[in-house]
Amino acid sequence: MSRGALGYLLWHSLRNRTARQVRQLRQPRYVVALLVGIGYLLMLAHGNAQPDRHPFLRGPFLELGLAASLLFLVGWTWISSGKQHVLAYSTAEVMFLFPAPISRRALVRYKLVRAQVVIVATTLLWVVILGAGRGELPVVLRALSLWCLFTTIHLHRMGAAMARSSAVEHGRFGVRRHSLLIIVLIVTAILLAAALVQAGTRLMSLPPGASVLLNIEAALRAPLALVVLWPFRLLAHPLASNSSGEWLRSFPWAGALLAAHYVWVIRSDAAYEEAAVEASFERARMLAARRTGARISSGGRPYSPALWSLAPAGDPARAILWKNVAMLLRRSRLRTWAMISLILALTLVIASAGLPAAAKTVGTLLLVWGGFFFALGPQWIRNDLRTDLAHLELLRSYPLASDAVIRMEAASSAFILSLSQLTLLLLGGLALMYVPAPEFSGTLRLALAGATVVVIPALNFVGMLLQNGAALLLPGWVRIGPAHGGVETLGQSVLTALAYIIALLLACILPAIAAAGLVTLLSPALSTWAAIPAACGAAALLLAEGWLLSLWLATVYDDMDVPGGVEG
């Protein structure tokens, strides 16, 4: 009976949601966005139909690189919060389904089926992104490989979240139920640490002249690293297969891994239920203790001060910036800061050890990562209108000019994004200082660093205005709220990121021309230092563009309907 009801809910929700999105096409702006999106996908499909140009994007290196990425993703899943999106049900689902006579297992299956809608769509997108007609593998096999990979990772995240919830929320009962899993995790962590040390040692012993990618491959081929990466390589192998025969040999292993994950999730659920029952008894005992006056922990989140205090006097719009920065810093958890500290420590150790190959690899990776932040950062850092539109009613009631609100909202995320990027670039630059490169003199490096510090905040400000503009112009298509993450939505994220980069590049045309002109004009007098005034000129133009954009977006913001506006 529950299957029929859940199927009904799933089908009708999907149908109505699709119909609603189609109805939005009555508005010209959505039609334009759709046409641009289709054209963009076609362009991507055409571009990727060309044969592979880079040897690193095929075969064993692809398998190894993908496996390492999956290992990072899974590791991150385990150290991140237990109360993840992957376990979350909507308020309506909680209100209707949880009190209904439906087993928790049926609810988990419902959630898995619901996730398949997104996973299948993401698979199709990835087939396009990776190139439908590229390589030796038929499209269907490539799609199946991707589907298997995404579904397994989704199941893993779900299982991990359940196990964490069970262990954390139900105290010693939860830990006891998951003792085997905890042992596996501890052994894996020890192996991983040993593999990292071995890979690091191998990296440090490499000659300085080799390319960064070869260095990475050599590090990943360290014996212990291969052991740790083995299950991830099983999963990645079908996608990296060069022939249908190879795919047929590798896919059953990946399929078996998927099946094992499914069983784990369902069994975890049973353990979760049992732990929940035991915890309920414990809670009853605690309630009885409370009635006798025993002290009960509030379980509240610890208070942490904001980055800076907010004086009552001053530009009122800056209160928005203060609020958004405070919120983002509080939302980010200890693990983020632990990761930053680890990267910092690693960079300093490598840089000071005088090991050119290692310094070159780590420094380049940090620079590349800092560059990637242009594309992916805006999707992770959303402490702007993309979160605040949920409070549109409140925002509108503030005595602030709409354009000021928009500028401050965009500045909030641009501030954090620039800080993160500059930290990565600074660390990368620091590591590369120990790599001999006669063509990059100390003066040139300093001038480039100065120009970067000037340009990046302005560039991110315009970028965040573009992101906020998309949320204002296409509120039906842009999700409001914090980043969801998860490999199953990665296809949409990559597409959005690419489209965003194109828009950002268009915004950069004029400032880039101005900067080039300034460099030509000033370099006879200032030599390499001309980069800094040129960067200032480019930044000023970017800010001017941003200002104009914010004025236009303010009119869109003013015309937006408040959700539920037609109710009363």
Binding site: S309, P316, M327, L392, E393, S397, P399, V566, G568
Partner: protein, 240 residues
């Protein structure tokens, strides 16, 4: 003082409010009542500057909401039925934030007084998810009152409050009116409206059905003599 002239609001083809005019003088409490979909929330949101009217003019404390929205908004407060709070700001920080938005230089002193009045002082470092529904509502009200608005709008202000909270809330609304604020109170709780409001504006299908003190409304319709607001309301909106 709140002045509304010819307020009309269309959502696409749908008319939510048609040619509505009224004023609320300082010290007055106007009760906005009507069945679901009558246009109460749309009216309140328009007066609060949250939505832009399709036609008409709204003035708050002498400032036109369309031509001088910042001055008008700095004199008003809108407290919706569902408190909108930021999960990652503490109770105290919500008030600091509002103090900066409204340029309340003595925000810290007012914050203390308001939190005392609303019995939230011991929760000053708590985050909204740690508060009960009623406490959240109180915090939203404290945020609305911090800058001493001269125009106050409440949408179902008693939602989620316990009996003591309800009593205090009524006192808070009356106190602000006595201090000279023009207050609009929208509620389905007709006994509350009858108890607190000096005048009533009854809406139906976005149009005014009746306005004035309950006695005046009844005086214009002798057949309603001796009836309560609830009975008058049902008779006027034509629903049983």
């Amino acid at each position: 003082m709140i002045e509304v002239e010819g307020l009309t609001k269309l959502y696409g083809d749908r008319l939510a409010v048609r040619d509505l005019s009224f004023t609320v003088q300082p010290g007055e409490v106007l009760g906005l009542v009507g069945p679901n979909g009558a246009g109460k929330t749309t009216t309140l949101r328009s007066v609060a500057g949250i939505i832009v009217p399709s036609a008409g003019r709204i003035r708050v404390a002498g400032h036109d909401l369309r031509t001088d929205p910042i001055a008008a908004k700095s004199r008003l407060a809108f407290i919706p039925d569902e408190p909108h709070l930021f999960d990652y700001l503490t109770v105290g920080e919500h008030l600091d934030f509002v103090a900066r938005l409204y340029n309340v230089l003595d925000g810290r002193e007012r914050r203390h007084a308001l939190l005392s009045e609303l019995e939230l002082l011991d929760r000053i470092d708590s985050f909204p998810p740690e508060l009960s529904r009623g406490m959240k509502q109180k915090l939203a009200i404290a945020c609305g009152l911090l800058h001493g608005p001269s125009a106050l709008m409440f949408d179902e202000p008693l939602t989620g409050l316990d009996p003591i909270g309800i009593r205090r809330m009524k006192a808070t609304i009356l106190r602000r009116a006595q201090e000279g604020a023009a207050v609009i109170l929208s509620s389905h709780l007709l006994h509350l409206v009858e108890e607190l409001c000096t005048r009533v504006l009854i809406l139906r299908h976005g149009e005014r059905v009746a306005t004035g003190a309950l006695g005046d409304i009844i005086a214009e319709r002798p057949e309603l003599a001796g009836r309560s607001l609830e009975e008058v309301f049902i008779a006027l909106v034509g629903e049983t």
